[in-house]
Symmetry: C2
Subunit: 467 residues, 2 copies
């Protein structure tokens, strides 16, 4: 019997999609940079069906790739071009199983959209802090599997820090119910850590219990013009102390990135009257009616006196706060608009070295890649910068893939010299696999391969991703 | 050649101790509940020597148990009674390798005493939040290997949350240098998670890079009398919101525990004028000159109006703060003073169920164990309680080990019914191994055994601990 029929016996005919159906939503990544071909797309309704699908595929030696919102940036979720993989979509596992506003916990299924999880938390007067550009489409299972980052990592951590427990279907179809609600549990090895950030190569996350926090009662958002990235780092160290580690976000936007977002979307306007070398979007949030505004104002006054900040604006309305954030968040779209194909990176270095890294990269770019221009922005507080590379506007010939690869190699070599990471938050997937395998010491690769062998001895889950 | 001589060739004669020397410090745990016998104690000077020792032991099939400050509570570090294990003491790896007060990071070797790490951070105007009773003796390597908890978990997390990177010697003597300073790194599986909380069964932690925080500029400490543990939970939920998640500690002391600490140490006095059913020791800390005192006062006023708090005192001096904390911290000594042998537990349950758990345990105790009395206190905010059991004062016969085992079984069964953990922060070691193996589902044990097999195929590192 063809495997499609056996899958249909598990999940129902309507939930096995094959070539006859439109599979483009599952076969192509959202950027349109990658298109594969699925043997079938299967959409189980619940954990038991996921397990049954995995048992079947395990018996049949059938490769499977789990898919959440398909918003990843490293081509992990779309199927391979060989057409031999089944895409297992978690989208129907989209229930919020429980929410406890007293104990500040929530149990949600993998297919829940991040935005709906955040909204449900807010309705219960709580706060789930994970936030990233794709929040309207990405799913919790993908957030867990990629250890998602975003704009609130500074205060609340990566997804890894927000997970209390997991439910996981192993490659052989066994269900591990690790959905505890415990804040502390030192009984044996912490198995959930294996699956967080494993990009769907070790198991399929079907549900997660999450930490919640008090709903913020006051947000303060500042848009600041600074003389340099170095000043942004110095200011950050001060801000941690003076604002009592209540910084939620501390985002850097360099001059070139600012020009791009303003130039591409006329509704985005520079909130400041004088142009600056770089900008910081800073946000604090507090609960319980604490008023941080006076402290923020005096903090900024002192920073201006000391020349760390040249000019700044504090959001006076929700509309103004949204406008500040649009400048930052529209950067992603602006890059695709201006150059549908370009080079994206996601580098982190020890936080204090970030300005030096940017300066060193800019110098290399000017010297060896005058045909390309950097668009630089990111989560400075985390030492994480998206140093992206677009064609210079005046170019008449398209930039070749090979040219981007040369530039990427230069940036990755530089990252290594700064003891940095070539993937701070996006993961490895297929896109960065070769660079990852090149860079990573053999002792680490051997341990990682051992973990893969332990969990997925047949190598059927997300083959060719990460390892 | 006897292995002692080969070890001496690596670390020098002076650093291989054998039966002729006094080994009691290494062979007996600090409580004096466990005494083993070491084939030898070896004290390497640095990571290279640790690696050489492990290579030798791996070749020779020689079991090794790493030891930090030997302050653990589950008999993981002292050698077995068979006398066939070598104790590898990390005490000479006690250098602070670096401290960065701008980037808020610190790299320390495994043998650094926790207190000296905290002190070094404070000197640099920073703060390392891990704090537990044993801080004057316990070592960072042990803190990492046991995923230590303590009184500041509420705000800053367990040791797992404070580690940026690790240096680990594997059982076969290979050195893994994972001592990064990155806040974000999603390149492949997060290997450091394997070794945190593994109780020295998967590798030997030789150094760690740690997160630091701004040094607090204001501490506020309150000692509160409450009508019930239930009220303590309700108050905690309110405190998270009203005090903006700036609670550092939120410790419960029940009536019986209060009587014990006051009765045993006359210098400890009840800070409140009216006796209460239970007490909460609450501490907030802020930096940057933020003044949380007015908010704390109004929060407590409202709690008193609502009957959640009956009476309270705010520390007005460092001396008073220290006196409040002594009441809590002297509890451990008081129990050993009153009953040198007793039953200690370290249970966690979903935080909102903690009062119900204590009530259910008290009811079982009254019904089935009238000869025993509970001494209950703990980290309520984390859902973690030390529900310890001492003989009733009027008993004339000593309580048998068997009787304590019956009581422990009852408490562990109750914990399971509450979806709790039998080891919130102390670990498994040898003491809880049987209960752990009984309770843990086969799917989890098989994964854990797989990890052990992967890292330590010869089973030479800390044999008989955890698994």
């Amino acid at each position: 019997m063809p495997i499609q029929e056996e899958l249909a016996a598990i999940v129902g005919d309507a939930h096995v999609l094959t070539a006859a159906d439109s599979l483009s939503r599952y076969e192509t990544d959202w950027k349109g940079w990658w298109t594969g071909r699925a043997l079938a797309v299967v959409r189980p309704a619940d954990t038991a069906e996921v397990a049954a699908v995995m048992r079947l595929c395990h018996e049949r030696g059938q490769p499977v790739v789990p898919m959440g919102g398909n918003t990843g940036l490293v081509e992990a979720a779309p199927p391979s071009q060989a057409g031999d993989e089944i895409v297992l979509s978690l989208e129907r596992l989209n229930r919020i199983r429980s929410l406890d506003a007293v104990g500040f916990t929530m149990v949600v299924e993998a297919g829940c959209i991040l935005q709906s999880v955040s909204d449900a938390a807010l309705e219960a007067d709580c706060f789930f802090p994970l936030s990233l550009g794709a929040r309207g489409s990405c799913q919790i299972g993908g957030n867990v599997s990629t250890n998602a980052g975003g704009v609130n990592v500074l205060r609340w951590g990566m997804m890894r820090d927000l997970v209390l427990g997991l439910e996981v279907v192993l490659p052989d179809g066994r269900i591990w119910d690790g959905l505890g609600l415990l804040r502390k549990d030192n009984t044996g090895y912490d198995l959930k850590q294996l699956f967080i950030g494993a990009e769907g190569t070790l198991g399929i996350v079907t549900a997660a219990s999450l930490k919640l926090f008090p709903r913020p009662t006051q947000l303060e958002t500042a848009f600041l013009g600074l003389p340099s990235a170095e000043a942004a780092l110095t200011l950050f160290g001060r801000a941690r102390r003076d604002l009592c580690d209540l910084l939620g976000a501390y985002e850097l936007i360099t001059r070139g990135a600012m020009d791009l977002t303003i130039g591409t979307f006329p509704e985005n306007r520079d909130p400041l009257s004088t142009p600056a070398e770089c900008y910081v979007l800073l946000q604090t949030s507090v609960s319980g009616g604490l008023d941080l505004r006076p402290r923020l104002e005096s903090f900024l006054e002192r920073a201006m006196e000391d020349g760390l900040v040249l000019d700044g604006a504090l959001a006076e309305s929700e509309g103004q706060r949204a406008a500040f954030w649009r400048i930052r968040e529209d950067l992603v779209d602006a890059q695709y608009r201006v150059a549908p194909v370009h080079l994206r990176t996601d580098v982190s270095v020890p936080q204090v070295k970030l300005a030096d890294f940017i300066a060193a990269a800019d110098a290399e770019m000017a010297k060896h890649f005058p045909d390309l221009r950097p668009i630089t922005y990111g989560h400075v507080g985390d030492g994480n910068v998206h140093y992206n590379v677009l064609p210079q506007p005046h170019l008449t010939e398209p930039v070749t893939a090979h040219r981007y690869e040369e530039c990427e190699t230069m940036l990755f070599d530089l990252t290594a010299r700064f003891q940095g990471s070539i993937s701070a938050e996006h993961g490895i997937g297929r896109t960065k696999r070769h660079a990852f395998l090149d860079i990573t010491p053999e002792i680490e690769l051997s341990l990682m391969r051992g973990l893969k062998q332990l969990l997925d001895p047949k190598g059927l889950l997300s083959p060719g991703r990460v390892l």
